[in-house]
Structures are given as C-alpha cells and as structure tokens.
C-alpha cells in the first residue's frame, strides 16, 4: 500500500454509557466458576441504557470529536459509522447523526460492516477521500451495543460504547498524522452472525491464532516492513481489545513491551465495545501522547482482517485534550446495575405475543 502522509487526525472523542455490570454478576447468574473472567482480564462492562443505541452513542462521541477538532460541522464532507449493531438493518445511522450534528445534506458516507474493524476501513477510505481532495474533513465513528447470547462466554465481554475521529489534511487543525497504513484480510470464519440471529456464533479457540493473532501480526509486520520501522520505534501500541489478555499477548509476540500497551488498554473496565474497541484505546493514548511520539494502531475485525497504522503526534495536541470529556471522566462516571436491570436494558427478556 502506498503510504499517504498528508492526512491526519484533527479531533478525537469517545462516549461510554454510565451503567456497569460486574463480571461477577454474570458468573453468578450462569454458574461459571467464581473468578472465571479474571482469566479474561475483564472486571466489568459498560451497558447502554434503554434509550441508548449505536446512533445515540455515535452522536455523542462525534460531538466530542468535533469539539476537539475545532471545525464547523457543515465543513465535514463525509460521515461513516462502522458498527455491527445497527439500529436498523436497512436505514443508515449516518443520516440521523449527520442531521443531529447539522452536517448534512451535502455529505457522502454510509454505515459499514466488517465486524469490529469497519470503522478502521472508514479511516482508510477517508484517507483516500481527503488526500485526493474530494473532501476537506471526514467524520469516522466506531460504535456498538453488541449483544451476546446470554450464558455464552461472550457475554462477559460484549459491551456498549464508541469513539469518533475527525480526519483532515495535515495542517488543517490536525494534531497527529498518518505516517502510513497497511491492510491485510482473509476469509477466516472465526465469528459471524446471520441476519435472522440476534446473537453471533464464534469459534472459541479458533478466534485466537488463525484470526486475531495472525491478522494483527501480519498487518503490523507488513506496515513496519513497508515503512522501514522496528517495534522499538513506537512509543505506544494500541490493538483491538476483545479482552484484557489478547492485546498483551500479541504485543509480546511482536516484541513490544507491555508498558507501551497498557495506556491504551481500556477494555478491562468497559468490556469489548467492538467497533469502539481499538478507537477508544487510541483516544486514551492521544490524551497523553507528546508531539513527535509514534503510535502503532492495529484494529482487527472478525471475518477476518486487520489494518496497521503508524501515527505521529504533532504540536498543539495538549491544548485539545480538555475540550471534551476524557477517558478518565467516562471511567469514573459509572453506576453499577444488577443482572435483572441489565436484562431489561439490553432487551434480552422475551415477551411472547398474546
């Protein structure tokens, strides 16, 4: 892939719902051995309220990103939402968000699907659109309110949340730019959902080596080769984070010390927000990164595929951090609920038509 170096990030934002379900509640509900999720390194997960969905989460994250980018919404030329939990199977989320943010109607975009890396695909597409001069700013949102079959191990991690990025030509309010990117995809059925199913199927162990690890490592290695970089050239590494263990394991396989991964590892406290996952991790890192530092950013989506980006931080990033709520704000502003309220919020109680 030809590196494009004149596109960057003008603003970033996230939104995490305030409700939390402790792992121990799920263990107790389904009779898992106590301490089961300690293994996955997840303590609790974020749960969207009854009135929240991918659209409302995406809207809030986008509002935060636009505030940090300091751009006029009407100048945004494209909106993308990467999600696997669309409120409508057919009817775009970007139009509701676009109208609520007063971006539309002279806009392009769509809702994208590639499991957890759809938003990353939107970043790649945006880089092309901006670099070619077709548009000035792009708004990319990754948000999900992912559902797992109650009682399945996935229930420990499937959570709600999202992040958004305003991308622009380097110099147009940008605070970081893409040094290069590398995509790697194969037909690997580690996790899928057919249209009539409310919950996904997954391959348990198969989701590891052939899927997550193979694609992230291939993309990261491909990126480093094409840019002539070594693992030690990076100050931070943010990976897709389906649980608290996988990112540390893949970092170790790549020869990256865990100290560089921990600042961007947020899943243990909020669960796996799917399309929000890696994007929230990157947002957390951008809050603390200093100019000229280099970030390795590698989202992954089942099906499967990975993109690896090298991002270099620019001057002025520090002043943008407090223009919107930080990750600390969302992690601290929480309210615990029990399994029964979670079941009501997530709509997993079946009502039979009488």
């Amino acid at each position: 892939m030809k590196p494009v170096t004149d596109v960057g990030i003008a603003g970033w934002g996230m939104y995490i719902p305030k409700y939390r379900l402790k792992c121990s509640e799920i263990e107790a509900m389904w009779g898992f051995q106590p301490g089961y999720c300690k293994n996955l390194k997840i303590f609790e997960k974020a749960v969207g309220g009854v009135d929240e969905d991918t659209i409302t989460i995406g809207y809030e994250a986008a509002k935060n990103a636009i505030a940090r980018a300091k751009v006029d919404p009407s100048e945004i030329g494209a909106i993308y939402v990467g999600t696997e939990s669309k409120p409508y199977a057919v009817k775009p989320s970007i139009t509701v968000i676009g109208e609520a943010l007063e971006i539309t109607p002279e806009t392009l975009g769509a809702d994208l699907e590639f499991a957890c890396r759809a938003a990353s695909e939107a970043i790649e597409a945006s880089i092309g659109l901006i670099s070619s001069g077709m548009i000035k700013y792009s708004l990319v949102i990754g948000a999900d309110t992912a559902q797992a079959s109650p009682g399945d191990v996935l229930e420990f991690t499937a959570s709600s949340g999202g992040a958004a990025y305003v991308l622009a030509k380097r110099g147009n309010n940008t605070v970081a730019y893409f040094e290069g990117s590398y995509s790697y995809i194969t037909d690997t059925p580690d996790f899928w959902r057919r249209p009539l199913s409310p919950y996904p199927y997954h391959g348990e162990q198969f989701t590891g080596d052939p899927a997550y690890f193979h694609h992230i490592i291939s993309a990261a290695k491909g990126l480093m080769e094409s840019l002539g970089l070594k693992p030690s050239d990076f100050d931070y590494a943010v990976f897709h984070q389906p649980n608290g263990r996988f990112p540390l394991k893949v970092a170790s396989k790549l020869g990256i010390p865990k100290e560089k991964v921990l600042p961007g590892l947020i899943t243990p406290w909020i669960g796996n927000t799917y399309n929000g996952s890696a994007l929230i991790g990157l947002a957390a890192v951008l809050e603390i990164a200093k100019p000229e530092q280099r970030i390795l950013f590698v989202p992954f989506g089942s099906g499967s595929g990975s993109d690896a980006y090298s991002i270099i931080v620019e001057d002025g990033i520090g002043e943008r951090v407090n223009l919107a709520p930080t990750v600390k704000h969302y992690l601290e502003n929480k309210q615990y609920i029990n399994y029964t309220l979670y079941a009501k919020f997530r709509g997993i109680i079946e009502r039979f038509k009488v």
Partner: protein
Amino acid sequence: MSMKFSIPRTWRERKAHYVLEATKCSKCGKIHYPPRIVCDNCRSRELVRIKLSGTGKVLTYTIQHVVLDGFRDYAPMIFAIIELEEGVRILASLTDVTPKQIKPGLRVKAVLRKIVEDGKLGLIRYGVKFKPLEG
C-alpha cells in the same frame, strides 16, 4: 403489517427534536420555545432562529410510574421542567439519573437519545433528553 407512527410526521418534525432551537423576536426580543412564527408578545412576524446551549437547571420534576402505551421499558420515567441558560424553559425526560439524585436546582445538559419506538419492527424516534451535568 401494523404501523402506529406517521412516517411523514416523524420526518417533518425530526430536526426540531435533533437540534434544540428557539425563535427570538427581532422587534421586542422575546425568546420562544418551542419555535413560533408570530411573536405572542408583540405580534411581529420577524422572528430569527437561535440555537440553544442545552444546559440548564431543573425547576420541578415528576417520577411517572404509570406509563403510556409503548413506553413500558422506560418506566419509571422521570420528567422535568428545565430552565435553560437562555432563560427559556423546556419540558423533557431526564435520563441516566436515579430518583434519589434529582432535586430542584440540579444542573443538567441535553443529549440525543431514543424517545420511543414503533415496536421492534417500526420506526425509532430520537430526540432530546437531559442528564446531570457532572463535575
């Protein structure tokens, strides 16, 4: 295939629910919410649209246990009359807050949330709700 919501009405009223705007009279300065076409103070038709900040404080509230058809999952529903910074008042639903946390004077801010759905297969109506301002 049963459909309770009007499609044209949902479409026609969407902006009013997505973006909080009031009208201001160019002649006498009165601010009106919901937006008007004629000033009720001086009868002038020269009104301009102003965007509202979305932050304010709770003047009075209620916790509604008996809900209307279609709102079963949202009970108990909390409604409030909120005085926005601009001096206008708005009636809205409060979200992300428990009954114990509400009191008159509570500072709140507007967020976009689902208001109601036409069942699991029909349209979703989004609109403004208010949640406590933290920090």
